[in-house]
């Protein structure tokens, strides 16, 4: 079991109200699964991924990743925990604009204190794998949406994570590019046996995953294979 979620709530407190973003979520995810998390905007898909990415904390319940109870992980240890276990892909790509594609992919390795030569070799291999070997020295502004998302995938994979979280990775792409990116994720899942969770509101793409979780108003409405 790579992810175990038991009766998890996520509540946001604003000045005016209490927002129950996730309600009593329970899930068990095995190694190598490819899961799509579907639902409308505001359903709670991103909130769930943020919790799984250790970017945010749960309000109630239990969350275990790689058999580690996150309640017991110290705050200062989260960056290392993320580096070692989790890769994240964002809808808006979110690159450092002053760095080239290659440098952006090398960045997580730098935070892992990898030697530059090794980091560069690894980052180049990954960019080649996602079909961007001729674009490695281009800056993000010089890349198309599809290319940027490929760079983001390479960046998420560079630390060889056990779990890959993708939040609307095709949200800013046209149909063809969206399918290409989804195919790439499927290929990574098949070859690397990596656990992948993709949040998407695109039903056509979501259905291509091995397991589908449908969230509505913060609760799981459907969990099917």
């Amino acid at each position: 079991m790579v992810i175990e979620i038991a009766n998890v709530d996520k509540i946001y407190h604003s000045e005016a109200e209490k927002i129950h973003a996730l309600k009593d979520i329970s899930l068990k995810i095995e190694e190598g699964e490819f899961i799509s998390i579907m639902g409308h905007s505001g359903a709670g898909k991103t909130t769930l991924l943020n919790l799984l990415g250790c970017l945010d904390g749960i309000s109630n319940g239990k969350l275990k990743i790689m058999k580690k109870d996150l309640d017991l992980v110290k705050k200062k240890d989260f960056p290392k925990f993320r580096r070692d276990n989790i890769g994240i892909i964002f809808q808006d790509f979110l690159f450092v604009p002053t760095l080239t594609a290659l440098e952006n992919v090398m960045l997580p390795l730098h935070f892992k204190r990898k030697k530059d030569a090794n980091a560069e070799k690894k980052a180049k291999n990954l960019l080649t794998k996602v079909g961007l070997e001729k674009r490695i020295n281009h800056f993000p502004r010089e890349l198309s949406g599809g290319e940027m998302q490929r760079v983001a995938i390479a960046r998420a994979l560079v630390n060889e994570p056990k779990i890959l979280l993708a939040d609307e990775p095709t949200g800013n792409l046209d149909t063809k590019n969206a399918q290409n990116i989804f195919d790439l994720l499927k290929e990574i899942n098949a070859k690397e046996k990596m656990t992948i969770l993709v949040a998407t509101h695109n039903k056509k793409l979501g259905k291509q995953a091995k397991r589908h979780i449908h969230i509505e108003d913060g609760s799981i409405k459907e969990d099917s294979v």
Binding site: P79, R83, I88, L94, H110
Partner: protein, 393 residues
Amino acid sequence: MRLLKIAYKNLKRKKIRSLLTIGGVSVAVAVLVSLLGFNSGYQLALNNDVDKMGYQVLVTAKGCPYEAATLMLKGGGGMRYMEENVYNRIVQDERIDQITPQLMTTVYNAGKEGGGGFTMYMGILDSYLVLKPWSKFESGSWFSSEDADEVIIGYEAAELEQREVGDMIFIPGKEQILKVVGIFERTGTQDDGVIFMPLKSTQRIFELPNQITGIGIKLKKLSDLMQFEEDLYDEASIQVISMAQVKGTIMGLISSAQILVTSVAIIAIFVAIVGVINTILMSVFERTQEIGVMKAIGASNLDIFQLIWYETIFICLIGGVLGSVMAVLAGNLVEYFVKALLPYAPAGKLIYIDAKLILSTQIGAVVLGLISGVYPAFRAANMRPIEAIRSGE
């Protein structure tokens, strides 16, 4: 890839803003380097001036002792005179190693380069050279007699007057023509601008019979100085000035000016720190989402803290280097203004900027960067990744 490289690239992102901030730091550093350079330069120049007078004690006619000492150092009109027999009495004292009388006077020369000016004349005896063994002849030799109508010219005065040995010079208002018999080598002191004459000739030409303006004395033992001064208190018409006291008093006068300039430098540094903090803080706020993403992909708080700190250190280090270059290049201009403002400015360079000063200023600039960077770096390091990422939505 290093954090340093990322920090450098971040600064290039907003070039104008970074340059303006670096400019602010440069100005502060330039003021500081000039001030510290002035501090050591002035002291060195003053020490050089006083030491090259060749004596430890100056005896002058009664009056303000420091005014007298300054006039002896700097030259100028308004000297008080005393009887030459004072010299004849003091010279008998066994505690004295060397002694020389001087008669200093100035003449306004309307034809002088730059719209007229004063020329300094000093009547001396051959004992003057004994007290100042570094005064060597570049050409020519000593006066032919104690009452000769001859002059020996200081290096700069000779250059200014365009005179060589064998030429004649004319003293305006005195209708006197004198022959140049020698030119001294450059000493780096006020002596370089003086025209020397035999004491007796000076007394005769300037109609000051048996008058002198000062007596320079070098004692056999410096420890006798206090007693020596006390013994001369009985002489009603004279005063004794220790050159060590003169140094201390002039430095004391200068220190008040230094306090003022130091205050300006401190304000400039404070403004520079605020400028750097403001720039980096703005840059941090603009990059909130980016910082959030870095944390999401594995950057620790320390990584982010270092990154922001490097940016401030870059700004301050570049500002420090540019400021030092500015101080060195503008040194002559600053010196010109300082010399014009100060009541007494010694000869030689007043602003002395050496490698040690530059190095310590660079270290200071880095410390400035470290201090300025703490708050923005702390803010950035403590951002919660999820909130930082959401800030861009």
